[in-house]
Every structure is written in C-alpha cells, then in structure tokens.
Symmetry: C2
Subunit: 436 residues, 2 copies
Amino acid sequence: MSTFRSWFAIPRGSHFSLANIPFGIISTAKSETPRVAVAIGDHALDLEAFAANNGFNALSTIQPHQSVFSEPTLNAFAALGRPLHAVVRKYIQSVFAEDTPYPDVLKNNSALQKDVLLPLKDVKTHLPMRIGDYTDFFAGMTHAFNAGCLFRDPKNALQPNYKHLPVGYHGRASSVVVSGTPIRRPNGQILLDPKAETKVPIYSSCKKLDIELELGAFVCKSNKQGEPLPIGEAEDSLFGVVLMNDWSARDIQAWEYVPLGPFNAKNFGTTISPWVVLADALAPFKVKGLENDTEILPYLQQKDEKNVYDIQLKVDLKSISGNASTITQTSGRHLLWSFPQMMAHHTITGCPLQVGDLIGSGTISGPTSAEYGSLLEQTQNGKSSITIAGGEERRFLEDGDEVTITGVCGSDEDALVGFGQCVGRIEPALKFAFAL
Amino acid sequence: MSTFRSWFAIPRGSHFSLANIPFGIISTAKSETPRVAVAIGDHALDLEAFAANNGFNALSTIQPHQSVFSEPTLNAFAALGRPLHAVVRKYIQSVFAEDTPYPDVLKNNSALQKDVLLPLKDVKTHLPMRIGDYTDFFAGMTHAFNAGCLFRDPKNALQPNYKHLPVGYHGRASSVVVSGTPIRRPNGQILLDPKAETKVPIYSSCKKLDIELELGAFVCKSNKQGEPLPIGEAEDSLFGVVLMNDWSARDIQAWEYVPLGPFNAKNFGTTISPWVVLADALAPFKVKGLENDTEILPYLQQKDEKNVYDIQLKVDLKSISGNASTITQTSGRHLLWSFPQMMAHHTITGCPLQVGDLIGSGTISGPTSAEYGSLLEQTQNGKSSITIAGGEERRFLEDGDEVTITGVCGSDEDALVGFGQCVGRIEPALKFAFAL
C-alpha cells in the first residue's frame, strides 16, 4: 500500500499524487490575477488563498515569506532555496495525508476546501517562471549522433568535443510559452536545393517543422559573475524540471546555422509544461545516464553516478482530422550529461546563472527509431515518412497538428510523480506582406 | 557657429553636446537609488530631481509619465516610444539653449542647477537597461571575412548564407555589464594541439583573451509573438545605441563551437557604455554601409540606402605598467547589415522582440589592419604580435590590461554626438578548486 494515502480524492494514476506536489502559476475566471498553486490530483491548491486563510500558520519558517505565493511567477518562491521548498512540500503532503497531524487546517474545514481546492479544468495555467536567460544543451547523445549522421556521416557524427563537455548554446527566452499556446508555423529563408552550385534562398513558410522532446530545468540560486558553480553544489541550484518541446524549423536551420549555430530555426517558440516538478520530488527516480567512455575533467565529475531521471516520456501527435498516435516513447535516462554538469560547465567561465533561468537538456532519443525524440530522426530528414492513425503520413508537422508530450516517474499508481502535459498546436504560417 | 550654443558651460569637444542628450542610469553618494539622467557636457542632469522640481511643467505630454525617471532602468522610458523620446530630448535641448524659451526652469534658477546638475566625476553609472534577451549579429563583413580566412581559407571565408541574411546568434544577457566593471579572465576547456590525432582538452585559464569592437542597439517596442516586424517599421523599435566590447575567449571558442556556435567563449562578460545615444541623435550621421553585391529578399530591403552610422570608433589598450596605445581606429559604417535589417530578420519567424532587448552589430573592422576590431585579426590568431607603447607586445590580452572603446559622430567640436567610454580591465583568472 502506498505511503501517500490522502483523505482527499486523488484519482489512481494521477500525475499529481501526494508524492509529487508540483508548483505552478494559475488564474481563474473568478480571480484573474496569476498566483502560485500546487497540483494535487485533479485539483490545484491555490496557495495564495491557502496562506491568506492561515493554512501555513503551523509552519513558522515559511510565514515571513508568504507573500511569494501572491507573485505572478515562481521566481520569488524559487529564490527561497531548496531547504525551504522541501519544508513547504513536506508540509503540504502532511496536510493532505490520511492521518494528517493538522486535521483542522483543511481536512475538517470543508468551507476552506471549497475556496482553495480548484478543479484543474477550471484553472488557467501560466508560464511558471520569469525566464532571464534560456540555454539549450545537446546532451541527448543518440540524438546528437543521429543528427550528425544525417548532416555528416556516422564516422564523424559526434564532434571531438562532444564527450568532453556538454555542448550547448544560448536560446531565445522571450519566445518560451506555456503549454496550450498555439505555435504559428514560421516564415524564413530556406534553400530549396542545397546541392546547387549557386546557393540562392527563397522566402517561404517552413516546410520542415519539427518537434524536439526535451526536459527543461529551472535555476533557483544565482552565482556571482566571475565565480563558477562547483559541481558539488550545483544540485542546490536546481529548482525543478518541466517537459519541453523546442519547436525547430529544420529547413531554416540547415541554411542559417553556419558558422554561429541555430538562430531563427529555434526562436519562434518553445513550449514548456506548466507544473514545475521539484528536484526533491524527482530524486527517488535518479538513474545512471549514458555511459561516457571518455575521461572527463574534474570540474564535470559528479560524486553520484545516478544523476539523470528515469522519466517515462511520450509524444502524441493528433492531426486536424482527429487521428491520434503515439509517435515516441522513451526515457529521460538517455542523456550523457546531467543538469548539474550542465550548470557547472555553463558557469566555469564565471557566467552568472540567475534565478528563473531555463536550461534545456537537448533532444532526448532512445536507441530505436520508436524512441527518437524528433521527426528529423524518425523520417531521416524527410526521406521517409511515419504513419499515424487513419493512415495519415508525416515527414514533418502539418498545419493543425497537435503535439502532446507527457512524462511520468514511477509505477505505483497511487504515488506517480508526473508532469501532466506539454501541448502545442500548429497554426498556418502568416501571409506576411512586405511593407517597404 | 554651432546651433547648439548653451548658457551652461559645455566644454568644446565634449561627447555630450546639446546635439546629443544621451540617457543613462545614475546614482550618487548622497542618493544611492539608481535613477534616470541625461549627460550634458561634464555633468549629468538628474531627471528624477528635475521632474520633482517642476522641470517638466511646460511639457504636458510628458507629465503623466514622469515616474519613468525614477525607475532604476531606462525600460519604462524606452517603452514610451520614439515620438516621446524626441519630445523630451528636444525640450531638454531648448531648456539648455542660450536663448531658451524657458529661462526660469533652469537658466535663472541657480539653486536648482546645483541640485540637478551633478559633475559626472561624482556620479556612478549603472547598466542602463534591464536586458531581456541579447542577440549578437555578425554584420561586420571584413571581420567575418578575416575570421573565415583564419579558420578556413579566403575562398570559403564567407559562408554562402552571409550576404543573404544577417547571421546572428543568441548571446548571454545575464553577463552584460556596464563600463568600468572588471572582467575576470575565464577558465575553461582548451585544446592545446588542435592538429593532434586524439583531441584531449585541458582545463586552463584562457590564453587567447580578446576584444570585439561592436555597437549595441536597444529595443524600445515589442512585437507580438507570431507577428514579424516589417522592415519599414523596424526603425520605430530602435531606442538607441551604445558601444560594446564582446570579450571573447578564442581558445575556448575554437574547441567548443561546433556544431552549435560559441557558448562559454562569450558568456563571461560583455561590456557596454553607460549612456544610450538616442536613434534621433544619431540620425544625422547615417551613411550607406558596405555594398552588398547579392540581391536580398524583400523583407530585408530598406528604402533608405543610408542605414548605418558613421561613428568614429577607437580602441585603446593600457597595460598594467601604464603604457597606453590606440590599437584600432575605424568607423561604424563598415557593416553589411543595419539594425533595422537585423530586427526584421530576427522577427521574420515571429520571434518577439521586447523592450530592453540588446542587439549587437558583430565585430566592426575596417579594411586595413589598423582598423581591425579584434586582436584575433590584428595578430592573425596570435601568429604575430602588435607593439604598444613602452615596446610591450601583445598577441592577446594580458592580466591588468585595460581596454577603452570610444565613439563619436561629427566634426563640429561644439556639437559632437559621442558615447563617452566603454572600459574594462582584465583581472587574473580565479584559481578554482574543484569541490567534488
């Protein structure tokens, strides 16, 4: 029997069991001001209202900080640091426990339950953090290898630096959106015939619109400029994790990316799931990542071999006709580098990470094609197609396609630690008139 | 005789003539809260104090917005839009004009002069904007060509995309600092022998620390995600310009940059000058940039051929022994792409620019080696050296070196439009112990 039994009705199989307690930003029709909540079963616990109604009275350590729950982002809560996140999470777990030591707080107070426990279906979720900088890594080694084979050859698929450092690049923070936000197919420059002697691009809507299945980590502790974050302390800066779809325009990317890397191909939208699963909630699901056969420098060596998460990841694609299929099933374990390693490398030069920064894992692909985290890999850059329900074929995304990423840890149906969904639907490209 | 004569003593040759009126953020020993000011001659006009003392009473359009002058960044002022920037700038010019129509505001009010006109030497300047995203372009074609020759060969120095689109990449916003902030030499991974069969990097302080002479533009108008900024409207989003030194670790860069572009090599510090010169102040100095012999797509075509600025740029290097030399003299005209073209390209996919975003031009190099904007180019990646005063030689920067960029437009010594200085001094690398 699960140790996470609750007096409150949490459906079996819910991503938001008592073992989880993920944090997010919500608003409702009745109260449109965004504020902090946690997800529990099919409900959101409105922490602003809970705090205002003495919900945290038993928790003296959090009382001076209760205003963080009225903020429109999680940044202030994140900045309190992991020890306080743990205190709040454990307290909420104990308030909801079947044998709660605080029965009068909520269990025996049905009036307050009505006020602070809001059905998720009635709640609007918002971008959980005010993101300063967004950095995207490339730690999914199978993806890096597959992409390298497509653009170079199997012998040179991985660059010489790949196993020595977590390759990454700075992404675009302003276009990160919360799950449910439509994604417009981008326009840009593409080269129709890459083999032509004279290379002349055309202006076009993207014809190779793709997904990238990733995990995103949020930073909860800043380091000073000039002062690297030692890898032994990097875990303290890890607030929590979300699912991420780093939408990619492959044809725009192929033309633009030399010599400074992807730019327009990635700057039109990145979707993240709304509930930040705290690092503490994920800790029981740590596993060893991909084997690195290269000796890495000491600043990247982690004491604990278990440094990535066994999150069961799934990508579903639903066409405009309603045909839906799972196109990818894989795990968060298929990473060569962990988030603490990425943070240690990011800051080794003295680069300051700040509370609210978002760090992407890079596309996660497992070893077989049913586990590939992008259509680029599944269709060999459009050379073949995949078939979804109704016999529909896809090389890349079509207008109206809805892509849903889900992720969940654990097998005990009463104690799952899940992320809910990360959804985006493709809208047709804008017919853009050039006003000269 | 200049049309910009003032009753106030503005030294001849000042960068901050009445023709300029650049905006910045200041604090003083007496009043440590950062606030908005403009630079005039050797003084800063404290706009918070000026507004509080009825300085803007004659200006009904600005009165509802006066709180922007009490902000710790220029973002709120920038967001008012270019028409209001013009109103404020012209009004300040008229208040300081010899034949001012508002003599009682300041000219005949010596008590207020003492309160609001602060000697620049007593003023601390701060980062002028709260930067959301920072994007660095690569529009200095001579630099791009020189770098391409060093890393490839003259025939393939410029990639096929170079003349079709402004190549750029996302930079690191959190490490942008204001002039005067010391820059610590970064540590990182470098490959001592790039030609070795087996490529094994070492952990080391950067041995090839370099400058990049750039201009930075700030954005004052947001576009909605999914809605590109037409090039004909892009100029409206250009708040103003600063000098920029995009410090670069060439050895870290050479090892890390494939395939996703520079990352650690650029994320440890970017210095900008403190005073934002408004786009209106620069408008008289527009010139035609570098000739593009390629036909560009309509979304990048600007009506006006004069789209870059003839800013006389200079880089001085002073060693720890005090030996100082000018190492670069060039002009802002040596760009293939203008800021409006960069913004139109940046947003063609629908990427949202936001007020406060910083856009770098890329390194500006003129045609001769005395005009190269980086040591990489001047020393052929360290193959040769340059000699500065005292016979000191430099391949790259040494600890204690102080680099000063200056920039100024015009030749009328009473009506210069200048940027002041963009200064940074190199501190020794941190001896970083690996706490495992």
